[in-house]
């Protein structure tokens, strides 16, 4: 499946700075058009936003107050099996990464290496 002409994105992170960073990285990447349809600060909020907007792709942190990333991914994939989730996290160990993928995330990206080249490539790989 090719990358859609307009990529509709949901960004889930409790940090304003991180949401902004991801959004900027996506906008300046080589993707044709990126539309951030919604952002959320925790899992519960994100689940609501997904139901409302049905975005193409979700960028989610793992450690968040309220419903954390792992529970959010599990709930989301149970409800929408085709949901594409990219985990962007700063602190994770091997078992945490494995858990995120096991629960339904597609890719894990390191928070420190979020940049336009990396995210662009990552999305292309998902749609490949």
């Amino acid at each position: 499946m090719p990358v859609p002409d307009t990529l509709r994105v949901l960004i889930v992170d409790d940090s304003d700075l991180m949401r902004y960073t991801i959004e900027q990285a996506l906008r300046t990447s080589n993707l044709p058009r990126v539309d951030v349809v919604a952002t959320a600060r925790d899992g519960r909020e994100a689940l609501g936003a997904y139901r409302e907007h049905l975005p193409d792709i979700v960028f989610s942190d793992l450690e968040m107050p309220g419903m954390n990333g792992l529970d959010f991914i599990e709930a989301l994939v149970t409800e929408f099996p085709d949901a594409r989730v990219v985990v962007v996290s700063g602190s994770f160990n091997e078992s945490m990464r494995m858990e995120a993928i096991t629960r339904g995330a597609l890719v894990i990206a390191d928070k420190k290496s979020v940049n336009r080249h990396k995210l662009g490539k990552l999305i292309e790989a998902i749609y490949d």
Partner: protein
């Protein structure tokens, strides 16, 4: 299959012949009907009529009832039909035969592929097998696989269960999760590879550790992953090697730190420290030896004093390593302080500590020595060739004296006013010195008791002198030994079958002396380690001659032997070698 039919020439030939045969049969059978009909008509109906009328009637019958035309053409029709049948049958036979060949070929190909596969699986030195979605393992696997992971060839074994038994409990869940992810088609290979927790799998086997790496190659069929090719490589050697490299790096870092440290210390202070440490060690040794089986409390105080002094001096110079070892030894010793009764075993930990201390002082000493050798080598490069050769003689004599347990002294004449010696002579003169010192020590210089009887000084004298006479440079190397024994040379010449006894009696001394330059001629029977090695006098002389020089030998019975190397003073670069 069609291709096989049209290209097979042998099959075509067979099919044609069968078609013809069938056609002929058809024609023959077909002819029976009109011929039989005509014969019946002729004999029973028109039998009494003349043949001409009979033929007319036949024609008439054909005209009246045209079905006779059809009856007449039956042979041809039957022949054609039979030919078609023959042809068809031929095709069927041909196809079935071809089919057999094709099946044979295909089976052979498959067998070949199978044996190739077996060969590959048997010879690769990695573990190789297929993993199915239900975690079952393919029956076929490389021969290496069960060696690497014991139990993997058990029937019906599940990879996740097998690996779970091999790893720590906290890793089991991660590994199971990962193996399940392998079959999730929506994950890309990089993501999966990044998560691989089996890139380093440590197994305890045969008392050692084996390091295994498992790699997974996912095979997609129509988007789904049905099988995963798993490879297992053993990289234990690499790990062991890396560790050895790290260890040696660590050591060389420690050494280089020590070298830096030694270089930072003032040389005189370092020398003082090493000397005083030696003194303290020898006093410690005599203390311990004197202590016997029941060391008194006073020895503890003395030992403490000695070790403390070494430690303190090391600290002063900033040699932390020695300071630390000294400190540890002090600690062990202080445990014994205040005890009224001691036995020899109580001192054991201290003695072990002392050994460490001695070793660390030795290490510093070794470094100091290497640095000074280094320094000397470099500073020596400003010295003249004659000076270098004098040093070399000194070293050679010391070495030989040490190895052969002889007392030898060196005396260099004209030490102040040494001539220039061309660089290209240096090597050959060194060779000559080596050879001549060995000769002097093993053949010339008498044992000490003999020398005493002869009124000679106990140390054998080896002297070297340089002189320049016009265009000639002469280097004399000699000893004050017994001289070359002419009688022994004569005897040897006879026993080795060189000359007859009568003839040898008339030989001059110089003729006899010439014998010592012959390679296989030696007056000592047993070539010991010293006199047996080296390039040999003969080769030395040949090289000297090649440089346009010669060797003169002066020997006097009981007084000594001197070899005089005479070379062109200006070197060969201007004169060229005389060959």
């Amino acid at each position: 299959m069609t291709e096989a039919v049209t290209t097979a020439g042998a099959g075509r030939k067979k099919r044609l012949s069968r078609t013809v045969v069938y056609g002929l049969y058809g024609l023959a059978v077909g002819l029976v009907i009109p011929v039989a009909g005509w014969m019946v008509d002729h004999y029973f109906l028109f039998g009494r009529l003349p043949a001409q009328v009979s033929l007319q009637l036949l024609t008439e019958i054909h005209r009246v009832t045209p079905i006779h035309y059809f009856i007449d053409s039956i042979p041809v029709i039957l022949a054609v039909l039979a030919m078609l049948v023959g042809r068809k049958q031929e095709q069927v036979v041909y196809y079935s035969e071809n089919l057999e060949t094709l099946v044979d070929e295909r089976t052979r190909e498959l067998n070949e592929a199978k044996s190739q596969q077996d060969q590959i699986l048997g010879s690769v030195d990695v573990g190789l097998f297929l993993l199915h979605g239900d975690m079952s393992i393919s029956e076929q696997m490389s021969a290496m696989t069960p060696d690497l992971v014991p139990g993997i060839d058990t029937p019906d074994v599940q990879l996740d269960d097998l690996l779970a038994e091999l790893v720590q409990e906290d890793r089991r869940k991660t590994i199971k999760q990962f193996l399940a992810l392998l079959f999730r088609a929506n994950l890309n290979d990089t993501t999966v590879d990044n998560l691989n927790p089996l890139k380093e799998l440590v197994l305890s086997r045969d008392g050692g550790e084996r390091y295994l790496r498992l790699d997974f190659y996912r095979r997609r069929v129509e988007g789904e992953i049905q099988q995963v090719l798993v490879t297992i490589t053993d990289f234990t050697e690499q790990v062991t090697l890396n560790r050895a490299v790290e260890e040696s790096e660590r050591r060389s870092r420690a050494s280089s730190r020590l070298v830096n440290l030694v270089l930072d210390v003032d040389p005189t202070m370092m020398a003082d420290f090493l000397d005083s440490a030696d003194e303290e060690f020898s006093s410690i040794m005599s203390m311990l030896q004197g202590a016997g089986n029941e060391p008194g409390p006073e020895i503890i105080a003395d030992l403490f004093q000695a070790i403390h002094s070494i430690k303190g001096n090391a600290g002063l110079l900033g040699i932390e390593m020695i300071e630390m070892v000294g400190h540890a030894t002090e600690d062990r010793l202080s445990e014994l302080r205040g005890r009224t009764h001691l036995d020899a075993l109580d001192l054991l930990p201290t003695i072990m500590g002392l050994r460490d201390l001695v070793n660390s002082v030795k290490r510093v000493k070794r470094i100091v020595e290497s640095i000074s050798v280094y320094y000397e080598t470099f500073s020596a490069s400003t010295r003249t060739n004659a000076e270098l050769l004098c040093d070399f003689l000194e070293q050679s004599v010391q070495q030989v004296a040490h190895r052969m347990d002889r007392s030898l002294v060196v005396e260099v004449a004209d030490g102040k006013d040494l001539p220039d010696i061309p660089d290209e002579y240096r090597k050959i003169i060194k060779d000559a010195i080596t050879q001549m010192v060995r000769n002097a020590a093993s053949h010339g210089i008498e044992p000490e008791d003999v020398r005493a009887q002869l009124g000679k000084p106990p140390e054998g004298q080896i002297h070297m002198a340089f002189d320049v006479d016009g265009s000639e440079l002469a280097i004399s190397i000699g000893d004050d030994g017994s001289g070359i024994p002419m009688d022994a040379l004569r005897r040897k010449a006879v026993t080795t079958g060189r000359e007859s006894e009568d003839k040898i009696a008339s030989w001059s001394e110089s003729q006899l002396i010439n014998l010592i330059f012959e390679d296989d001629f030696s007056t000592t029977e047993s070539a010991d380690t010293m006199s047996g090695r080296g390039v040999g006098l003969g080769l030395v002389r040949t090289k000297i001659q090649n440089l346009g020089g010669r060797i003169d030998v002066h020997t006097r019975d009981g007084v000594g032997t001197t070899f005089r190397l005479v070379l062109p003073a200006s070197g060969t670069l201007t004169k060229g070698p005389r060959l």
